[in-house]
């Protein structure tokens, strides 16, 4: 056990515990806040693994944007404050879900742990890749996927706008149809 191992175990324990709380808590808003803690400490995991750029992007995009979007969606859908049992599926379904989750964990661990057993990386003298290597790879080898991703973001923006707009119109029509029926 090196120092990095101990630090990673501590940060990883925070990540796993807050992720577990975010999927089990009965408070709707607490779930999003525990997700924030989990994603933030996962950025710490990336830092310990020597990938500063990925950790910072994780903080900016996930913690700064995605969790805020989730919180906005919870507010716009009038999330109840306080413990609420109706956000969970029935007990038998949760038991099945826990079994399937445990099976996923066991399957992945059985596959990955032998793959990484005894593999160590020397990070104390600077990461082997480092940010300059990532920049050169992004704008060299990966430049076309990178450009396609910007198109994907644009399409997602337009798609979200179109989805909310088009279905809103049909919703207005159903409301007027119901109003006519009422009249």
């Amino acid at each position: 056990m090196t120092t990095r191992d101990i630090v990673f175990a501590a940060v990883g324990a925070i990540t796993a515990l807050s992720a577990l709380l975010s999927v089990t808590t009965k408070h709707v808003v607490h779930s999003a806040l525990w997700l924030l803690v989990s994603l933030g400490s996962l950025a710490g995991c990336y830092l310990v693994l020597g990938q500063e750029l990925v950790g910072l992007v994780q903080l900016l995009v996930y913690v700064g944007a995605i969790v805020v979007l989730v919180l906005f969606a919870l507010m716009l859908t009038r999330a109840p404050i306080g413990p609420h049992a109706e956000i969970d599926t029935p007990a038998w379904q949760r038991v099945v879900g826990a079994l399937l989750g445990a099976a996923t964990t066991v399957l992945l661990a059985a596959l990955l742990l032998p793959l990484f057993s005894g593999v160590t990386v020397e990070l104390d003298g600077g990461a082997p890749g480092g940010t300059p290597a990532i920049a050169q790879a992004v704008f060299g080898t990966w430049v076309w996927p990178f450009e396609l991703l910007s198109v994907l973001l644009l399409v997602a923006l337009i798609g979200a706008f179109a989805v909310s707009r088009l279905v809103l119109r049909s919703e207005d029509e159903t409301v007027t149809a119901r109003g006519e029926v009422r009249r």
């Binding site: 996962l42 992007v57 956000i87 879900g97 890749g129 990178f146 979200a160 989805v163």
Partner: protein
């Protein structure tokens, strides 16, 4: 120096927790939180595998950045769908969705697909 078994174990754990979160929640936004956890497990695994010595093209961190971008696009569209679901049905309970969407389907659903375009043109003209 760091042993890579710990990050791999954490990735497996996060994926399992995410699967439980997707299956055990009825609230649509909370299901999306489970999906985010699964995506983060994939990201952690990419970073872990990419930090091995001799990984070509800096593939681990670069692909992690790509997955983060795709996750942002995904959650953007998914939350738009969730908000539309809330406006049409008044709830985002996923178990109640089929019952509620079947009601407006028989009459209005053939109509709204061709109709919004004439509505748009009419609004623009007026």
């Amino acid at each position: 120096m760091i042993h890579l078994q710990l990050p791999a174990a954490l990735a497996a754990l996060l994926a399992g927790i995410g699967v439980y979160g997707v299956l055990a929640r009825r609230n649509a936004v909370l299901v999306l939180i489970g999906v985010e956890l699964i995506l983060n497990a994939a990201n952690l695994l990419l970073v872990t595998a990419g930090s091995r010595t001799g990984a070509p093209f800096a593939a681990g961190p670069v692909l992690t950045l790509f997955v983060i971008t795709i996750a942002a696009a995904e959650i953007c569209v998914a939350l738009a769908v969730v908000l539309v679901l809330f406006r049409t049905t008044g709830a985002i309970d996923l178990t109640a969705v089929p019952d509620l969407t079947d009601e407006p389907e028989p009459e209005p659903d053939p109509q709204p697909d061709p109709e919004p375009e004439p509505d748009l043109r009419g609004e623009v003209r007026s």
